[in-house]
Point group: C2
Chain length 350, copies 2
């Protein structure tokens, strides 16, 4: 069987439709020809199911590979992923993203594809906007979105990306009380023993400094101040800070305070319990419900707040997701837009 | 017992030497007085072992805490760490770093301290230069260096920092051969089946593209080119690239190529086997020895190359170390200076 390299396609004759398309679904039949992408043709060449000619001369694998690599940006990466998916037994067709992948047992023309697979190099930053566009394309036709990241040694990691709508079970967002507190250098201290106990026990706010006093983080302090649970003064005088003044001071200490706070408030409003995720290198670890501070359950999510202009560094994303998954948590990226939007990215095996 | 707040110290009388210093080693005796740091005095006040006066007026805990917080930068953080160490049963004295900590069973005046503890907020970047200065101070007097990182909710994570001199057991750095290869977009392909097999089997270079061909990462390609194991051409013509030309092209694809390469070469020269650490979000995972590519052992280190001007973001450092430790690997930071220097940072329990 012979295919001819024409621009960025390989075109094979009528007999290829029967021998290649109808048996293993490479290419798309068109006017008595079979049109193959460069990647499909490379895989057939490797499998010795096809010879490829350019201007009448037969190309060896090495020659064809160099040619294709010049014609198609990231040809090698796409070939590596295509080959991997094929060898795992999936039928693969080109698509809006790089590939459409059929479910096990499914075939082009017989069933619909299940996933959109988007191929990306670990070296190249992935803009959130591109990710969201792909997620929308896939969502519109109810496909699963998969990002296939190829590392510098050509190992592939597959990530599934999904919209998420996390909700918890905390019916009471905070205890009903009002108590004074002091904003110190970068944290807030509640001095009253009873109030400290209630805030810690009913809502898992802060961390005890000792038996009587409670330390709150800046986001916790801001949230409780906004809801009139604490009254905050500084170390220097007795003037009470309002919410905006508090946030302004907090933003001075932590430049991304506003973004973190918006996500904190969103998560609390979703009846979840966010606490610092420092030990996991993320903004928050998130519990569905904490009935008592003396019996802390497993936290279900790690959440990291990002802006709409965010670009994912793939090694950093890889580390975040790997760490989250290693402690059985979902990794959420919370996008700070007019409404906070949550994206769940998980490593998957194909 | 009464102590007087004088500038940034609390001074107690002669009887305190006997009652406080000689029983529990708070403060330093000087001319019939006991001189306490603000942190030591706060802990004695909390424990109700000391009353503190300022200009003749007794201060409550809240008042004293606010005063001390204004006098001493990061007073709260230091207090939190001091209290934690004391409650774990250690004797603690002020030192060149924030604290000197005595070994269990050790006491000031009786034995020498074991660790220097340096307190740091998770919010503040930690310059490598500061870390190295502390490491040197501790090393000069043979103390262990501990960094106590306090997160925004006042949880403490202790890290031990050590110089490291990693070495492996690969007696042969690469197989003896010479073979052509092509630099594609961001990787290098070896086309010869026999050479591919030897490079993969004897040295664990690259990853097979298929049974005949081998893909090398850019650092692997550069190292093998420098040592005349491969000859590299581009896709466009047959001109051979020399090492400098190769590095220039690689640096265009990966801006930090030079830094990564220097660490790669250092690790290989130390008879170790570095491979990409992408899945762990670091530059390299490192094996002591790979006898055969068909039987890959556990990798012992993750290594990340950094420049001398590096500043550690503590949440990022925390994530890197936690992930490394969770897969039983040591986390090395390889500093690119005239000589590559390795620093091992590990989470420890005090």
């Amino acid at each position: 069987m012979i295919g001819k390299l024409k621009e960025d396609r390989v075109v094979a004759g009528k007999e290829a439709i029967e021998e290649i398309y109808e048996t293993s679904y490479y290419g798309r039949p068109k006017n008595d020809n079979l049109i193959l992408t460069l990647v499909e043709a490379a895989h057939l060449l490797y499998r010795e199911k096809l010879e490829i000619e350019k201007e009448g001369e037969s190309l060896g694998f090495e020659e064809y590979f160099k040619n294709a690599s010049l014609l198609n940006p990231y040809f090698e990466l796409k070939y590596i992923v295509y080959k991997d998916l094929r060898e795992r037994g999936f039928y693969v067709q080109p698509g809006v993203a790089d590939f459409r992948v059929y479910p096990r047992g499914g075939k082009p023309g017989k069933s619909s594809s299940r996933s959109y697979v988007y191929v990306h190099s670990e070296r190249v930053a992935l803009p959130l906007s591109v990710l969201l566009k792909n997620l929308e394309s896939a969502g519109n036709v109810r496909k699963q979105l998969i990002i296939a990241v190829v590392d510098e040694e050509s190992d592939i990691t597959y990530y599934e990306v999904q919209e998420s709508d996390p909700t918890g079970n905390m019916e009471q967002l905070y205890p009903s009380l009002q108590t004074p507190a002091t904003m110190l250098e970068d944290r807030v201290i509640v001095w009253d023993g009873e109030a400290s106990g209630k805030l810690y026990e009913n809502g898992f706010y802060g961390k005890p400094l000792d038996q009587k006093r409670l330390q709150l983080s800046l986001v916790e302090g801001a949230f409780l101040l906004k809801n009139n649970i604490i009254e905050v003064t500084t170390r220097k005088d007795d003037n009470k800070l309002n919410f905006d003044e508090f946030c302004k001071r907090a933003a001075h200490i932590e430049p991304l305070f506003q973004r973190k706070y918006r996500v904190y408030e969103d998560l609390r409003t979703r009846k979840l319990v966010p606490k610092t995720g420092f030990k996991f290198g993320t903004h928050f670890r998130v519990y569905s419900e904490v009935k008592s501070a003396s019996k802390i359950p497993h936290s279900e999510y790690l959440a990291h707040s990002i802006g709409t202009q965010h670009e994912f560094s793939l090694p950093v994303m890889s580390r975040a997701i790997r760490l989250a998954n290693s402690v059985r948590k979902k990794m959420l990226f919370a996008i700070e837009a007019d409404e906070i939007r949550h994206i769940d990215i998980t490593r998957v095996k194909m």
